[in-house]
């Protein structure tokens, strides 16, 4: 280690990996509760997804009986975007680390790192584009209904 150069970002990344890990437990719990226990995976339609994302209206009669929750729209949207961001960071940084642990790949550290940065950014942007498609000025792009 005395031969290693200290890293300025490694500590932050380690910290964020833990924060996003805890965040994912909460957000995925929420996601499963809504999609699998309230709405029911088979009943997820473009229509009720639009309702949830644009109005925060969660409605369903699946495992937990008839439930209607009217969340503030921004709060539901925040959970969706956080879930996207947290899972992209946590997943991609995790895979990157597993690769960087292999001595055989050490020679390609820089290209692998930049690939992951670009690929993660692309995944995030794609998620945001899909999210935006639920809102009026953009929905013709995808027309989710």
């Amino acid at each position: 280690m005395s031969t290693q150069k200290p890293s300025k970002t490694a500590g932050w990344n380690w910290f964020l990996q833990r924060v996003t890990g805890v965040g994912l437990v909460v957000l995925l719990g929420f996601h499963f509760a809504v999609e699998h226990f309230i709405v029911g995976a088979a009943n997820v339609t473009a229509g009720n997804t639009v309702e949830r994302i644009t109005n925060g209206l969660i409605q369903g009669d699946h495992v937990l009986g008839q439930i209607t929750i009217n969340m503030p729209a921004f709060l539901y949207q925040a959970t969706a975007i956080s879930l996207l961001g947290f899972s992209v960071f946590h997943g991609m940084y995790g895979v990157y680390n597993v690769l960087m642990e292999q001595d055989t790949l050490r020679a390609y550290e820089k290209p692998i790192k930049y690939f992951f940065i670009v690929f993660s950014a692309a995944l995030f942007v794609q998620g945001i584009l899909i999210f935006l498609a639920f809102f009026e000025p953009f929905w013709q792009v995808y027309d989710p209904r």
Binding site: M1, T3, Q4, P6, S7, A10, G11, N13, N97, E101
Partner: protein
Amino acid sequence: MATTQETQRSEPATAEGKAELDVFRYIPEEDDEPHTETYEIETFEGMTVLDALIKIRDEQDSSLTVRHSCRMARCGSDAVYINGTQRLACNTQVSELSQPIDVEPLPRFDVIRDLVVEMNEFYDRMESVEPWFQPDHEPETGEEYLQSPENRKNIDTVLDCIWCGACTSSCSPAATDSDFPGPAALAKAYRFYKDEREGEETRKRRLEMLESSHGIYRCHTQFNCTEVCPKGISPTEAIMEMSRDAVKEKLRFWR
């Protein structure tokens, strides 16, 4: 066949006490490939795996090679892989193991011969954390660096390390990342990091030195090392404490 006092000292506990051992064998000058040899031995009460191996060497196969010295879990020279776990052969009772007892050299270390592995890479890892006392300044009173009992208590747990290599052998990142010092070295780093006699300057420098993606942050928190340590040390907890401290220092960016 060599017979040593070591074997003569031991009395079989019962006439029917027997154990079967499947022992990894590899003599580079003679064998193309490693192979397993099965030995049956008479056991006695309190027999350890090291006793069993010595008995085999004395009575059945004098070419069997195993490194050992103190026979009391102090020197750390006989860490081997017994029934799928890193353990000290001298500290493992034959009677506690399911049979046949599988004895192999420490995984992820190069085999020199039979159960003897090359330890130099492990010692290099240990040395990489500068495991020696580096005080910032001279002692304040007298000629001794006095340590408070509370501070001594902080490092009590990790002081018992006997450099056997069991933890490093069990650690998956240490197996694939040669820059990662591994659990034993990081526990040793913790021992000095927590020693307040070194002073704040050295403490900070030590932490910075360990702060790399191939340093403390490489730990997967799997606790494999903690599970196999024959001295009950938890390198994982030591590594996590240093990682948390390093991040806390970063979070206090306004200072």
